[in-house]
């Protein structure tokens, strides 16, 4: 080898060594700050949702610090982007725990990412409170460090009861996306409907983001459906509704568990959004009875901070972060076993927030997460089910 390439080889080795050294440097635990970690998809396919979760978490942290922090100490949020990639998410847990010395992790959108983070959290023995997770089996893995403030049955049960008690359809059509959450929702819903002797002649799985629903719409017209459930996401609804209208489909009822109860959906669709239904965990004006004041304050603070109306995804992020903050208030911060004590404190949570009365079962599932059914009327979200929370009357069918 000649001298020139020897020099270059030497340079390469130096770079590698420097990287190793940098890797070895980890932050010393600070006594003035409490650090909470966040892993969200901030770039990539899920960027839109990850950013919304991030905003909710950020507001919770900033609010807490404005009110004096936790026992006098300020909270610092350490945010990481998992790029919507599971193996990146997996690695970030370790980085946050070992390098950045966080005491807990929150965030997360879509079960592919949440599942992976929960496994890494188990390995690193750090509590993880997921902001958005559905797949039922994730809490069956006996992971003491995994908690989530949402669950599938929170979406599913209200829809089941709504259909059976209010709509009473003969035939239902179901579309769903090929994600685990949407697939599980659709599968369980179909099972339920069959037990109740409601026919489901139309069931289609599609890959979210397809450019044309027309063939599916044409297929649907064969069945004279009384109600359509669509488990797609925001862009799918935007397209499907537009195309249903374009094809003059006689739409009697439409419910999308995800992606509809958002201000951005209404502003995009304008009058095409009228009379569509969705499930909703929270929205400005639709909040747990007794939390109206707190909810209004949240909306005001959010609008001031981010210049837009908060959505339910923002609230999910906020709720998850608040759970951790509340648990920290009940933990002794100056001991060596902080992460385990924090884990126990989270497990014992009993916190009333606008979206839910947070409490966990022994598997980490939320005890009280349940959506209401809303319908868009005059550009606003009106709660139509359950009767005790209804703020308006359901309009059904949409067309006769």
């Amino acid at each position: 080898m000649n001298r020139k390439s020897n020099l270059r080889l030497g340079l390469l080795v130096c770079i590698l060594i420097i990287s190793f050294v940098l890797a070895g440097c980890s932050r010393k635990p600070s006594h003035e700050f409490i650090r909470i970690g966040e892993i969200d998809p901030l770039t990539g396919k899920l960027a839109r949702h990850g950013l919304e979760i991030h905003e909710g978490i950020l507001l919770a942290i900033e609010e807490t610090n404005l009110k004096g922090g936790i026992k006098g100490k300020n909270v610092e949020l350490v945010t990481r982007d998992d790029q919507s990639l599971p193996e990146v998410a997996y690695g970030l847990v370790q980085e946050l725990v070992q390098k950045e010395k966080v005491v807990a992790i929150t965030g997360g959108y879509v079960d592919t990412l949440v599942a992976v983070i929960s496994e890494a959290a188990r390995k690193s023995e750090v509590p993880y409170v997921a902001a958005a997770s559905l797949q039922e089996e994730l809490t069956k893995t006996k992971n003491p460090y995994f908690f989530r403030i949402s669950k599938l049955s929170g979406f599913l049960k209200p829809v089941e009861r709504f259909l059976v008690e209010v709509i009473k359809p003969r035939k239902v059509g179901i579309l769903y996306a090929s994600t685990p959450g949407s697939t599980e929702f659709a599968t369980k819903l179909v099972e339920f409907l069959k037990i109740k002797n409601i026919q489901v002649p139309f069931q289609e799985k599609f890959r979210t983001g397809i450019s044309d629903f027309t063939p599916l719409i044409i297929k649907m017209t064969r069945y004279d459906l009384d109600f359509i459930i669509s488990g797609g996401f925001l862009p799918d609804h935007l397209l499907l509704i537009r195309q249903l209208k374009q094809n003059n489909y006689p739409l009697k009822g439409y419910l999308g568990p995800w992606g509809i109860a958002y201000p951005s959906f209404v502003s995009q669709m304008k009058k095409d959004a009228e009379l569509l239904c969705s499930t909703c965990a929270w929205n400005p004006g639709i909040t747990l009875p007794g939390t109206e004041e707190v909810s209004r304050e949240f909306v005001e603070n959010f609008e001031k901070r981010f210049n837009k109306t908060p959505s339910t995804t923002n609230m999910h992020g906020y709720t998850a972060a608040m759970v951790i903050i509340d648990a920290l208030k009940r933990t002794n911060l100056d001991n060596n076993n902080l992460k385990n004590d924090l884990r126990n404190a989270i497990s014992a949570t009993d916190l009333i927030l606008p979206m839910e009365h947070v409490a966990f079962d022994q598997n980490g599932d939320p005890l009280n997460y349940e959506h209401v059914i809303i319908q868009i009327q005059n550009g606003r979200f009106v709660c139509v089910y359950p009767p005790e929370r209804a703020t308006g009357k359901l309009v059904y069918p949409i067309t006769d």
Partner: protein, 328 residues
């Protein structure tokens, strides 16, 4: 016998290089002792070893001039093959990864036969389309693969005296698999097989006139390449514990080995390994901390700059000759 003469010849001709590489690998095995405090470093290195092994497998095929955009198919099939084997036959990962590798190899061999007449961009496209087939099967054959719900609770790696799936375990597993694969690839590329591949890449028609059977060599090369990618997918599945069709049959795993092999230098044996190590470490320790939200752009820029200014990759910069073959 042949292996011994081959290895001896290796040592004679490439003694200094082999010594450096062997030394470096031994060093890597010792890293865990040095870095007890930061097992995060172990994690990052593990990931880079996995990518390195995948890039190495990809580059083996690229050596013959066949550029594949479909290694995600072999990777994903390896992941599913191994996970399903372990879950259904109740075995440990060290056994089931061979099933994964075999699955990858079989699909690779099949596609090698199917695409035998295709060249250049057409071959690349066919491999790209190939990814969709096992993905569609995994997504819809619900009774076997649970469809879109994916597989959970995939058994972790367990080495004696160490916690299951601990950073150390995964580190050692990945390092070992990389070392073995590196040895295999080095042996192949420095044997008649390797020279046949180089000749085919240089000029296929001429090579065939001197008696090199293009179809045969392509077939065995793609099978080994698929086997390697399958093993990587299998290791991935067991280290994370959860897989879904969209996760493992993602274009990400087709693009990654290509980028790393090119960055490190695709004409040298260890180029892909160098590329993976440098890129992964750079991304984790330099890009991400400095630009937490913009680091992806740096990654894209790095790729573009590599192609424009160092088409031979890092090893090209370091003066690695293309083993005496002039031209591209």
């Amino acid at each position: 016998m042949k292996v011994i003469t081959l290895t001896l010849r290796l040592h004679q001709r490439f003694f200094p290089k082999v010594l450096t590489v062997t030394g470096f690998i031994l060093l890597l095995f010792l890293v865990p002792l040095l870095a007890i405090q930061s097992s995060f470093l172990l994690q990052v290195l593990s990931t880079s070893f996995l990518y390195a092994a995948l890039s190495l497998s990809w580059n083996l095929l690229a050596y013959s001039g066949h550029i594949s955009l479909g290694h995600a198919a072999f990777f994903g099939l390896g992941a599913y093959g191994s996970a399903l084997f372990a879950l259904n036959f109740d075995t440990d990962p060290f056994t089931s990864i061979w099933a994964g590798g075999l699955a990858g190899a079989l699909l690779a061999a099949f596609s090698g036969i199917l695409f035998a007449r295709l060249r250049g961009a057409y071959f690349a496209l066919a491999t790209l389309a190939l990814v969709e087939i096992p993905k569609m099967i995994a997504d819809n054959w619900v009774s076997l693969t649970r469809g879109s719900l994916g597989l959970l609770n995939i058994p972790p790696f367990k080495l004696p005296l160490i916690n299951a799936n601990s950073n150390l375990t995964i580190y050692l597993v990945n390092l070992s698999s990389l070392t073995i694969l590196l040895l295999v690839v080095a042996l192949i590329l420095n044997s008649r097989w390797g020279w046949a591949l180089r000749a085919l890449r240089q000029d296929e028609k001429v090579s065939m006139t001197i008696g090199i059977n293009s179809n045969f060599y392509t077939l065995i090369t793609i099978s080994v390449s698929g086997f390697g990618a399958g093993i990587c997918g299998a290791i991935f599945a067991h280290s994370i514990g959860i897989i879904e069709p969209g996760m493992v049959f993602s274009l990400h795993y087709s693009a990654l080995p290509m980028v790393m092999a090119l960055f490190g230098g695709r004409f040298s044996v260890i180029g892909p390994v160098v590329g993976s190590l440098v890129l992964t470490l750079l991304d984790q320790f330099v890009f991400q901390p400095i630009f937490p939200s913009g680091h992806q752009i740096l990654y894209g820029l790095a790729i573009m700059i590599t192609i424009l200014f160092m088409p031979g990759g890092l090893m090209g910069l370091l003066g690695a000759r293309k083993h005496g073959i002039t031209g591209s």
